[in-house]
């Protein structure tokens, strides 16, 4: 992979844009020079369907003029005049829109950092690993699945490298190198006699790691009813288990609808955290900026101001964190030049804060931004995006086995499945990959057709126990969607296995 543009040239280009914006009357400007690389290796059974390398280079310029935001982006921009012209366009757009603005933008102060850089702490750059090694891995994964009872298997490796240069009129010139990886598969088992099929997806997590995530390390494995993984993923072993489990699902018992105590593995719970905590506490949603698309939020400012809104039980501590090593959200600075940090969202069950960026901080009385502004491309406008939001592990020692031992009628859910939540984040429904019935403290067998429905506040208040930090693992979303035009963002969510009492479970089997 060839190196990107030299940092000295990027600074020169950025200065051309900043100066042009200022000379046209901008009170603030920032420039993002981005080179975005992706690689996909896509296979099914014994075939490589495609290997794709993508590269996108361009510049996005954002300004404030007459108190209003304006943005312009330009593809393949390598000379100063192109950037100056784009900056002028951004100022013209800001001025046109200022006529419709009610209140001028208020930016939280941010000191400049000068010329600085940050690089994801990866051990092995996935883009430098020979393609043959990746192909061989996926084909051996597929082979293992087929040998263990799968009829079909699709597997993929996604790799992302964002080379981002940020400069602003605050005096920051920030060069960052971000890496992400996601190995994934889906196996299908078919019963031709009944015409039924069942699937099982990988229990991997997308992470802010290099190819080192695929180096098998026994200490990263948690054994149990099925093996789950921490910072090292044994894809071959998981595919073997997946094939057997998909087959087992074909004859598994269909769940009886009713109330159950749920034991949720981190490979599942991350998505429930994402939807029912991460999104409702985005301040732009709370204020109504996402009303036309993703929606607003039940977690309104009056609830936060009351200092008495019980989001969850006393066990529940939810933390926003842009620093967590190996997570999808970790960077040195966000996409508006703010240094990243860690803060509480829900403390001992109480709602204490939101996620806010520079033009929102004043609304919640913060003196500075939380540093969670992001754009998915040079061509997209940066806006508030979810930091990693995680559930703190329990403080008293507790293993998964000890947790299950106390459950009379429950379901143990592993892996994420179907997910849906309303536009104010009250009512949700989640599926999963693997469901095990718990009867009188013991796992009684596999279930299928399971989904649970609840209300966010009710659900988090039914949280009674959280396993300790030995069980803490990250899950995450590689492509979380928000905004118009929609942008994707990658975000991790950590937790230990957690128990929720008396949750409503429905049976999803139908006949067509």
């Amino acid at each position: 992979m060839e190196p990107g543009i030299d940092v000295a040239i990027k600074k020169k280009l950025a200065d051309a844009a900043l100066n042009a914006a200022k000379s046209k009357g901008a009170s603030y400007a920032d420039v993002r020079i981005g080179r975005y690389l992706n690689q996909f290796v896509i296979t099914r059974e014994d075939k490589v369907q495609n290997i794709v390398n993508t590269e996108s280079y361009g510049v996005g310029i954002r300004v404030i003029a007459d108190g209003c935001w304006g943005f312009s982006a330009v593809v393949d921009a390598k000379n100063e005049s192109q950037l100056a012209k784009a900056a002028e366009d951004a100022v013209a757009i800001a001025k046109a829109n200022a006529k419709l603005m009610k209140e001028p933008v208020q930016l939280a102060p941010q000191k400049g950092f000068g010329e600085v850089s940050w690089k994801a702490p990866i051990v092995k750059n996935a883009f430098e690993v020979p393609i043959k090694e990746k192909v061989d891995l996926l084909l051996s994964v597929n082979d293992a699945a087929l040998k263990n009872g799968a009829n079909y298997v699709n597997s993929v490796l996604f790799m992302v490298n964002e080379q981002k240069y940020f400069a602003s009129t605050d005096g920051s010139y920030i060069d960052q190198d971000v890496h992400r990886i996601w190995p994934n598969f889906n196996v299908t088992a078919i019963d031709p006699a009944s015409g039924k099929f069942e699937t099982r997806n990988a229990l991997s997590a997308p992470l802010g790691m290099g190819y080192d995530y695929l180096q098998v390390n026994p200490s990263d494995k948690l054994t149990g009813i099925t093996t789950r993984y921490n910072k090292g993923y044994d894809m071959l072993e998981d595919a073997t288990a997946a094939a057997r489990q998909a087959k087992e699902k074909l004859t598994a018992k269909s769940v009886e609808a009713g109330k159950y105590d749920l034991i949720l593995d981190p490979s599942h719970l991350w998505l429930t955290i994402h939807e029912s905590v991460g999104h409702p506490l985005e301040l732009d949603r709370v204020l109504g900026y996402e009303a036309n698309f993703a929606g607003t939020s039940f977690a309104t400012l009056d609830k936060w101001k009351s200092k008495n809104f019980q989001y969850g039980s006393k066990e529940v501590n939810l933390i926003a964190d842009k620093l967590q090593v190996g997570s999808l959200g970790a960077v040195g600075w966000d996409d508006e030049g703010v240094n990243t940090k860690k803060w509480d969202l829900v403390k001992d069950g109480m709602l204490v804060n939101y996620q806010a960026i520079r033009d929102q901080a004043h609304i919640i009385g913060e003196k500075e931004s939380h540093g969670c502004c992001y754009a998915d491309s040079w061509a997209s406008v940066q806006f508030q995006r979810m930091p990693n939001v995680s559930l703190a592990p329990g403080k008293t020692p507790l293993s998964v086995d000890e947790m299950i031992k106390d459950v009379k009628k429950g379901i143990y859910i592993i892996g994420d499945g179907s997910f849906s939540i309303d536009q104010q984040r009250y009512n949700f429904q989640f599926g999963g990959q693997l469901f095990y019935e718990i009867k009188d403290g013991k796992i009684a067998g596999m279930l299928k057709d399971v989904a649970y429905q609840s209300n966010t506040q009710e659900f988090w208040n039914s949280c009674v126990q959280i396993c300790d930090e030995r069980d803490y693992r990250l899950g995450g979303s590689f492509r979380d969607g928000k905004g118009q035009p929609m942008q994707v963002s990658a975000v991790s969510h950590g937790s230990s296995t957690t128990r929720f009492n008396g949750v409503n479970v429905i049976n999803t089997a139908r006949k067509i």
């Binding site: 075939k47 369907q49 495609n50 290997i51 794709v52 390398n53 993508t54 590269e55 996108s56 280079y57 361009g58 935001w69 943005f71 312009s72 593809v75 393949d76 757009i93 046109a96 829109n97 006529k99 419709l100 009610k102 043959k132 192909v135 084909l139 009829n151 079909y152 299908t188 078919i190 031709p192 006699a193 009944s194 015409g195 039924k196 099929f197 699937t199 204020l287 109504g288 900026y289 996402e290 009303a291 036309n292 179907s418 997910f419 849906s420 309303d422 536009q423 104010q424 984040r425 009250y426 009512n427 429904q429 429905q453 118009q484 409503n504 999803t508 089997a509 139908r510 006949k511 067509i512």
Partner: protein, 438 residues
């Protein structure tokens, strides 16, 4: 720069093809200029304009292929992209399912480009937003909306002499209007190729009416109800079903069209006999691309006729294996409806629920096409032919296949999300819980 003419696009594609050392090569070149304006809380929040131009090169040696994309267009970048695709192809193992690229094809004229949309300027977008915000502000309502316009082209070419070029435009507008006390919310969405058909004011008036009428909704028990799904509500479920009509998945027994014992349900009557669904790239309301990504021509195809599955889409490999015509998947579909207006459908309903919009739709079971999601932005109880009162939103768990067997009536199709969809009256639609969301 981002919207190249046919000649300019051909020149670049020919140049790229000339760099090739592979057995075969195919190229996709596309570019667009897209502009948008977004507003919320009755004020513009973001607005911008972006140009992009992108080249995708697929090189093939024997049955080994590799793809590389780039958006830099100087000669050395173009050559670099070709070498990269060749390098990847050289490293890939044989794909036994690879078929040689197609030779030259004949494509239909689709008229998907409108000058009016291509000429949109920032002032136009600001006015469109003003026309939506102003009436809301005057009535103490809060508008959040978004308009996006795109003008672009797509060109394809390959080493066997195939070449295709198409220009297209599109504009999409949506608005959510909320009451000041947050107890009512309404929505409207429009999309066209030609922006002269768009009135952001009239769409906003629909959303305003729904916001006011949906205020202080009553809770009624979830369960099975007769529903009238407005086109904006029905489109996603129907689109999801149409995306599941791949023949290979059916033959492999992993789709709702797989048959017990093997094969597909092609030729079987799966829906009410009034259900007919087709696609037509030349339809003047929803003109589409004349070609699929792999160069196959898009033509008029009937997918479901009088409730019977008439066609499924095929990859070229699977069609050859099965000895049938390789029909590509369409970019949009047309659900042939009836002639009733929405008002007439409400009038003929004894008891039912009118649904403006469905939200956060996700697959629950691919075998039965069971989906879950929620109603949103205007849900109303109908009794004796009249809208009686707004009701709280519901979560549903329902399959479009079951829905289209429980069909009561269909109205006149309108454009929704790029498709033509009628309002649909469906009996026994399954709501499984209530939501407090407004």
């Amino acid at each position: 720069m981002a919207i190249l003419s046919k000649e300019e696009a051909k020149r670049i594609i020919d140049k790229v093809l000339a760099f090739s050392k592979a057995d075969e090569m195919s190229v996709i070149l596309s570019g667009n200029r897209t502009g948008n304006i977004r507003y919320a809380r009755n004020s513009v929040s973001t607005s911008g304009e972006t140009e992009d131009l992108s080249l995708s090169v697929t090189s093939v040696f024997g049955k080994k292929s590799g793809t590389s994309t780039i958006n830099e267009f100087d000669d050395s970048s173009l050559e670099k992209s070709v070498r990269r695709a060749e390098e990847i192809a050289g490293l890939a193992p044989d794909n036994p399912e690879y078929l040689p690229v197609l030779g030259p094809q004949q494509y239909l004229e689709t008229n998907s480009f409108a000058e009016s949309t291509a000429n949109i300027k920032p002032d136009y977008r600001a006015k469109a937003a003003f026309d939506s915000i102003d009436p809301c502000a005057k009535k103490n309502l809060t508008a959040a909306g978004y308009m996006e316009d795109t003008a672009g082209f797509s060109a394809i070419g390959n080493s066997k002499g195939l070449f295709g070029y198409n220009q297209s435009t599109s504009v999409g507008f949506s608005v959510t209007v909320r009451t000041a006390d947050g107890t009512g919310s309404g929505y409207a969405a429009r999309d066209y190729n030609d922006v002269s058909k768009l009135s952001t004011l009239s769409a906003t008036e629909v959303a305003m009416q729904k916001a006011l009428a949906s205020s202080s909704a009553k809770a009624i028990e979830p369960g099975k109800y007769t529903v009238i799904l407005e086109p904006t509500a029905g489109v996603d479920l129907l689109q999801n079903m149409m995306r599941s009509m791949d023949a290979r998945n059916g033959d492999e027994g992993r789709s709702f069209l797989g048959k017990k014992g093997g094969g597909t349900r092609l030729g079987e009557k799966l829906f009410d006999e009034r259900v007919t669904i087709y696609s037509d790239p030349q339809n003047p309301e929803i003109p589409g691309s004349p070609f699929a990504g792999d160069g196959r021509p898009q033509e008029k195809v009937v997918w479901v006729e009088n409730g019977v599955v008439k066609n499924m889409y095929y990859s070229r490999f699977w069609a050859e294996k099965k000895g049938v015509k390789a029909i590509p998947s369409p970019s949009a579909f047309i659900f042939q409806g009836g002639s009733q207006s929405l008002a007439e459908m409400i009038k003929s309903t004894e008891r039912g629920i009118l649904v403006t919009r469905l939200w956060y739709i996700r697959a629950v079971d691919p075998q039965t096409l069971l989906y879950t999601g929620l109603t949103r932005d205007g849900t109303f109880y109908i009794e004796n032919g009249q809208i009686k009162y707004p009701v709280k939103n519901f979560r549903f768990n329902e399959s479009p296949v079951i829905m289209l067997n429980n069909l009561e009536a269909m109205g006149k199709p309108v454009r929704a999300g790029g498709n033509l969809i009628p309002p649909l009256k469906i009996r026994d639609f399954t709501f499984t819980s209530l939501s407090d969301a407004v």
